[in-house]
Every structure is written in C-alpha cells, then in structure tokens.
C-alpha cells in the first residue's frame, strides 16, 4: 500500500512548464528525499502534494485517497518550511495549537498533543515565548512541532535546515532522523544538500528541471548513478569524468583518453562497450588507489598539483590524461605538491556513460 502517489502530474505557471507528467510512489513510513539544484521544481512538487498549488493535470493520492482537489488541511499532511513560517504575534504554544483550534478540537486534546510534541522536541521551556525570542534552531523545532501536533501520516519538509548554521544543521538532521525512526510516518523532504539526502533518505529522487533523473536508495544513487547528471550531482568533490573512446585489444577493453588508456575489463558491463564508441568514464575520488600497486591492475603515473588536508581525509588534485582529477586518501598520508604518485583504479566500482545519451552503460 502506498502512502503518497503522484500520477502524471503536470504543473505550469502560465507558459512555463515546471512539472511534466511526473510519477512518484512513496511507501508507508518511507523517508523520501527530493534532491536537485535550485529551481528544478522540488518545492513546486511538494506544494502540489500539500495542496498549496493547483495542479494543471494529473492526480495525487494520499493513503490511496484521491486528494487532487482537496484543501491542504484535509489531506492529512503536516508541513515544515525553510523560513520557519511561525506566526510572529503568537507564543510558541499558540503556534502549536493554532491549527488544532481552527479544527475545533477539544481543549484537553489540544493540551495533550502540544505537551507530547513539546516533550519530543524538547521545547517545553519555550512555550510561553514569541518566535522573535527564539534562536534559529529553536524556531525550526517549533515549526516541526506544529506539523507534529497535527497527528498526520505524511510530513512534508521544504529545505527545513538550510537557514541554519552547519553545526545546528547536523544536530537537527540527526533529530529528524530519530523522529522518523520513532514515529514511522511517511516523510517527503526537499533539499539541495546531498549530505542531508544521503544520510536521511530511504530513497532519493534526484530531480533536474522538473524530471526525476533517478529514484533509488542512497547507496545505489552513489555507486551506480543512472546518468551523467546524477553522477556529477552526488559526491563531494564530484566524480572525475574522462571523455574518451572505447578500444579493444587482446580481448581486453580500454577507454582511451588522450595519451592514457584505462583498462576497463573489470567493469561489469564491459562486454556492452562497442569499439570506437564515445564514452565518459567516471571515477570517484575514493575509488583511486595511490601507491598501492596491486597484482593485475595497471599503474598510471601522475603529479600532485595541490594537496587539501581535511583532517580525516587528504584530498589530492592530480594531473592525468591532460586534465585535473581529485583523489581521496587517508588523512595521515601526505604528498607535497610536485611529488609523483602511482595510481591504480578499481574499475569494478567505476561508472561508464554513453557520451551522447549520457546514460549509464
């Protein structure tokens, strides 16, 4: 049974089409992250699900009920916004209870729910304060509380953490994950922060200009990106791309990039590679081994350009095949600029894309 289901959803603002025949099914209790760059239509999709935007075409089901034309309050959703959107003239307590009072829920029940939500989010000491007297993190907690008291099955988050500083963001991220584990309700979470997406999601939907590029669990998205866009969008620093052509020799397959031929015989789908085919070879920075020559792996020489020590990791920027590439190694291994390193590649975890269709091969 699906919790939220979007069928052939289209939305346009005048002549501008933001979403075009989008389909999405979200399971009960699933944490789905909508990830994409600015302006790709994430908020628009979320607002459609919430009922804050009238769809141009298509249907939306929540708990198998067609809610396409229903008011936001009747859809069984709670929503948290990027700007907190707390009612400035009301105390925290009032902010939490406003929706319940509008719905004419009896006062004892309201008190009970407000108490429970404020305990879960640890905001009891703040109940009598106005939003202007709270810090950013506290405000966002209250905003989450406002969704919590509604006692709904589906939570919608629109970039709830992007107004917070880095430390608070990671704290609240953990808290949201904990909340999801204890409440077990469906969450749809919009962000353009890939760390949030990878850490929180059961499944990630990567979006680009209103189209879902790939919908999969975080590890699949990370290790087996469906196309060039997803591969480049996920990962920091991003995947190294080498544009070249396929060559075959002595029963082995190679991707030739300028003067370097990468042996890709261990790539799972290498038999599908046609000699002469233009491809893009993608290598994650951590999938490159430095000075760890192994039996049966070919070795390439490269020169260190820049070293970026990051504590746990050390990031090397190298020149190979006439372009710059990044390599991640353990923090204690240091290579001053100018040193020569010997690289080996694990092609079993590499990605190869067709240069024309940009899809994974």
């Amino acid at each position: 049974m699906t919790s939220v289901s979007v069928r052939d959803l289209s939305l346009n603002f005048g002549a501008v089409t933001v979403l075009d025949k989008l389909n999405l099914d979200i399971d009960h209790g699933e944490f789905l992250v909508l990830l994409g760059s600015s302006g790709c239509g994430k908020s628009t999709l979320l607002n459609c699900i919430a009922g804050l935007l009238d769809v141009s075409d298509g249907q939306i089901f929540i708990k198998d009920r067609n809610v396409t034309w229903e008011e936001p309050k009747d859809r069984g959703i709670g929503m948290v916004f990027q700007s907190y959107a707390l009612y400035p003239q009301m105390t925290v307590e009032k902010n939490l209870s406003f929706g319940l009072q509008v719905a004419k829920i009896p006062q004892p029940e309201i008190d009970k729910r407000v108490k429970r939500a404020s305990e879960i989010l640890q905001i009891q000491p703040l109940l009598k304060r106005k939003p202007s007297e709270l810090s950013g993190g506290q405000r966002q907690r209250v905003a989450i509380g406002r969704a919590l008291v509604r006692d709904v099955d589906v939570f919608l988050f629109d970039e709830p953490l992007s107004n917070l500083d880095a430390k608070l963001r990671s704290e609240l991220r953990v808290e949201i994950k904990r909340l999801h584990q204890s409440l077990k309700n469906t969450m749809i979470y919009v962000t353009h922060d890939q760390i949030e997406a990878l850490t929180l999601a059961d499944r990630i939907a990567v979006m680009k200009s209103g189209v879902i590029q790939q919908l999969a669990d975080p590890m699949t998205i990370y290790n087996a990106p469906e196309n060039l866009f997803v591969a480049g969008f996920i990962g920091s620093p991003s995947m190294n791309f080498f544009r070249g052509a396929v060559e075959a020799k002595d029963g082995r397959s190679f991707v030739r990039v300028n003067d370097v031929a990468f042996d890709v015989t261990t790539y799972p789908a290498h038999t599908g590679l046609q000699p002469g085919q233009k491809v893009v070879l993608g290598l994650r920075p951590e999938h490159v081994k430095v000075d760890e020559a192994r039996e049966g792996h070919e070795v390439h020489q490269a020169v260190v350009d820049i070293e970026e020590p990051m504590g746990a990791d050390n990031l090397l920027w190298l020149r190979l095949a006439g372009q710059s590439m990044s390599v991640r190694i353990a923090g204690q291994r240091r290579y001053p600029p100018g040193s020569t390193v010997r690289l080996t590649f694990d092609m079993a975890v590499a990605s190869i894309f067709d240069a024309v269709s940009e899809n994974r091969l």
Binding site: A50, L52, K73, M79, Y87, P88, V102, S132
Partner: protein, 314 residues
C-alpha cells in the same frame, strides 16, 4: 595588558616607549559640531521650518487680538491684550448664509463624514489588498489594473455621473451619499497600499496557515491583521486627513445643512456682509486644521512606536 591597549589603538604602533601607549586617541572619535556640513544641513532645515511656522505664528497671534488692535497694523506683534472672543465666535456664532451657529455644525458634519468613510474604506481596501496579494483569484490581474487606472482618472470627469448615480440611489445631498463617494474614491490607492504590504509579508506564513486549516477570514483576522498595525495607521492618516480636508466633494454632493467644516470655513472667511473679522477667520482656520494636525501628532508617534516594537518584523 599593554598589548591589548595597543591593539585597540593604531596610533600607538608608532610610539616607542611603553609609557606613552595610553597617550594616543582612544574611545569614541570626537565629531565637530560646527562642521560646514552640519551648518548647511541644519541651516537649511531651520530656514525651511521657519518658513512653514511663520504663517502659523501670525495666525495664532492674530486670532488672539481684538479687531481694534489688528487695525493698528503689525501682524507679527504679540497681542497686547489676549482675548478668546474670536475663537468662541468662530466656533459658535459666526454666520454662514442663513444660520449663525459658527463652525460647530460643520465640525460635527465632518466628524460624521470622516469616521464612517475612514473605517469603511480601510476595511474594504484591506480585504481587497489581502485577496489580491494572497489569493490570486481568476481575473485578479485585470481587477487590479482597473483599480489602478481608476486612481488616475481626474475627479472632475466623474462628478456629474456620480451626482446622477447618487440621485438615482436616493442619497444625493445626504451624508450617506458623501460617505459612499469618499469610500469609493479612497479605494484604488488604499488597495494598492494594502496589496503591496501584504505581498511583502512572507508567503510561507500564508501557506503554513493554510496547512493549519485556516480559511480566508481566519487568516485575515488571526494572521494578517496582527502583523499589519503600521500599514493600518498609515492608511488611517491618509484617509482622515484626505477626507477632512476635502472641499470639492463636500460642496458638490451635500446640502448646506450637511456641509463639512472646510466648506463652512470658506463660507465664513469669504462672507461679503459686514467687516472682515480677521481674528475670527484665523481662529476658524486653525480650528479646521486642528484635527489633521492632532491625527499626525498622535498617530505619527504610534506609528513610530509600532515599528520600533517590532510589529513588522517576525
């Protein structure tokens, strides 16, 4: 310790001896009161202020003199003998046309015109502006364009058609008719004012309220109104002064017994019978202008306080 002082004071970097470290400038940078810039700025302000205050001074002085003293001449001289007779006469006895009960009748007429017109126009315009800003209904753009165009049509063009409309409605010449006219004429500018203000409030607040289940009126009264005190004060100042100072509509759309204060003032000042009583005229003018003046003073302070108290910010 010495290091701390030095880091607060760049000049001491040039001082060699440790004993002289505290000798350089410290604390707030002194500003010369009589700099050329200040003289120009304050000089201009004082001249302009005097230019506007002088007529008021003359009026008040003249209104406190008796007629014999006025005939003597110097309009700037303070009264030798203060008398409130002109004020009493202006308020209660001055003659306009047939009746001789002074400005008081006009004052009450103006009150009865201004209060309902202000309240109704602000109430309607704020709801209009709210609907236009937040509930982009079908045809909202067209409606708004028409409203704005309405603001630029000269009043004079519309006077006669309105006379006919009011006559057909049976309210021509009454206070009700005038209230309707003022309400309608205030609509474009006030709607624009409110629409822009509401459009400037965070949109997510409105969305949050909708998710919370609040409808059109609940959002208006519970969410929007409490955040909008400053703009209501601005609208009130605009309307009260505008309607109170109106002359044209007052003459055209009402009968003599309903004339607003401005029209009566004109009739007193311009009455051709008898001698010109300058002191009474001055007193009458000040009385008429007092209401907008009071509104400015009282609500202007309220307005500033409203902003300072964070009524605008979240």
């Amino acid at each position: 310790m010495d290091n701390m002082v030095a880091s607060n004071n760049t000049l001491t970097a040039y001082d060699k001896g440790p004993g002289r470290i505290t000798a350089g400038p410290s604390g707030r940078k002194p500003r010369r009161r009589l700099s050329r810039r200040n003289i120009i700025v304050y000089g201009t302000l004082i001249v302009v202020a005097l230019y506007y205050l002088l007529p008021l001074y003359v009026m008040i002085m003249t209104s406190l003199k008796g007629m014999p003293e006025i005939r003597v001449g110097n309009i700037f001289a303070p009264p030798l003998e203060i008398t409130f007779e002109p004020w009493v006469k202006a308020w209660a006895e001055a003659c306009t046309g047939l009746n001789c009960d002074g400005l008081s009748r006009g004052f009450w007429n103006s009150v009865r015109i201004t209060i309902p017109s202000t309240i109704i126009s602000i109430a309607v315009a704020s709801v209009n502006g709210y609907a236009l800003a937040n509930w982009r209904f079908k045809g909202a753009e067209l409606f708004f364009t028409i409203l704005i165009v309405g603001a630029f049509i000269p009043y004079q063009v519309m006077i006669y058609p309105i006379v006919i409309v009011l006559r057909e409605m049976g309210v021509y010449g009454t206070l009700t008719g005038l209230v309707i006219v003022h309400t309608i004429f205030g609509m474009p500018i006030l709607t624009l004012l409110f629409r822009n203000y509401f459009a400037g409030l965070p949109e997510e607040l409105f969305k949050a309220a909708r998710v919370d289940g609040a409808g059109f009126w609940t959002i208006y009264f519970k969410i929007m109104l409490p955040m909008s005190l400053p703009i209501f004060v601005v609208a009130m100042i605009l309307q009260v002064t505008g309607i109170w100072n109106d002359f044209l509509f007052g003459v055209v759309f009402t009968r003599p017994e309903y004339y607003p204060m401005t029209v009566q003032l004109n009739n007193i000042v311009n009455s051709v019978q008898g001698v010109k009583e300058y002191n009474v005229n001055m007193a009458a003018t000040i009385l008429t202008g007092a209401v907008p003046l009071v509104v400015y003073f009282v609500s202007g302070r309220l307005f500033v306080r409203g902003i300072a108290a964070g009524a605008v910010k979240g």
